[in-house]
Symmetry: C2
Subunit: 221 residues, 2 copies
């Protein structure tokens, strides 16, 4: 594919705190992006930072972001300004013998770059399909697909995954040597975003069953 397997380490993408937790491999970054549902998009307007949660989808080395054409944020981003895209998966709380060594287990990605507007109905539809399949695999084949008017009313941006890093903390606590003698429980409290029982729409006809693709919905493995 002519693609490198790792992102370059740049001034803004170097992991400065806890560098041994840092990763620049695409495979590590992609796995986190494929499990998360929301990214936090940071941009600057007149030196004021804004951070807004957005749904997204990944295709190869590109993230797609979308929203209404009326969105002022998207009108801003499509100018090609520098943005920062952050995704965080919380995997647990690390319980240490000392409060100082309490921590979180997480997998996070921070990316830098500029988004560009996707134009043309076919290209926009393909990006919307990627977005849809990222969040609810199987729905593109199952539900009603977008009309030309709906596509026209949607702004879709492409953001290259070309600069950034992942950071991963896992495992148990790292207590001070002398604290291991304390009579204090230590370990991990795992956390996972877990689906509950599907809730049918109040107006759903009684004979319509939950489709197979939504029956065992889960994120990650």
């Amino acid at each position: 594919m002519g693609q490198t397997e790792s992102l370059p380490v740049t001034d803004r993408s170097r992991v400065k705190r806890g560098p041994r937790l840092g990763h620049h491999d695409r495979a590590v970054i992609n796995q986190i992006l494929d499990e998360a549902l929301v990214v936090q998009v940071g941009f600057v307007v007149e030196n004021q930072p804004f951070v807004i949660p957005m749904g997204y989808g990944r295709e190869g080395n590109v993230l797609y972001l979308h929203g209404s054409t009326a969105s002022r944020m998207l009108q801003n981003l499509e100018q090609g300004v520098d943005i920062c895209v952050s995704a965080t998966l919380l995997d647990g709380i690390v319980i240490a013998r000392s409060l100082f060594h309490h921590a979180m287990n997480y997998r996070s990605v921070v990316l830098f770059g500029r988004a560009r507007l996707i134009e043309g109905e076919a290209a926009k539809l393909q990006a919307l399909k990627v977005l849809s399949e990222h969040i609810t695999p199987g729905q593109w084949e199952y539900a009603r697909t977008p009309t030309p008017q709906e596509v026209k009313g949607t702004t879709v941006l492409a953001f290259p995954i070309s600069e950034g890093s992942a950071k991963i903390r896992n495992g148990g606590p790292n207590d001070n040597a002398e604290d291991y003698a304390l009579p204090v429980w230590a370990g991990q409290l795992p956390l996972k975003l877990t689906p509950g029982t599907p809730i049918p729409d109040a107006k759903l006809a009684a004979n319509i069953a939950l489709p197979e693709n939504l029956t065992h919905y889960q994120r990650g493995e």
Copy 2:
């Protein structure tokens, strides 16, 4: 307390897209902040936005953020630069009859302002207690509390909750009138950050039981 019950609606805190989903009441904002575990903090360095996940705690109308005194991000924030603090709780995926009306159910908060450095051991300890009790209630009384040296090595910032908004989407899909006749399942897939079974540290002595405060850990109700 001389505090207003709502935050002012300003240019940067007005909810522009989907204004009927917007809230400025402190009670709504606080409930979201008290359930979330991580905020995404946006700040600007030489016109480049950065978005970094951080743990935090709330006391009244203040959020506390903390990290190592060696953290370049915190050294930056403690200068009193404008930052944006974003928290997002994902409550579910909205399954519509059309792909266009698929959506997420969420509760999010976006705040604007400047952080200030907390100085003095007593004030820092109190802020660290708030942070600790936010993430793991009960641990402050149970685990070993910070030494003066540990407090010294920790930077704690106070961020006023004085400008910003919450945005909440809940309930089922809003399909186009003509789509209700489609033989397509619609409703909600609820999502919740759920604790798993606690994992004891490999070095934990066999006679140390999980403390009561961690036995039924959960976020929100």
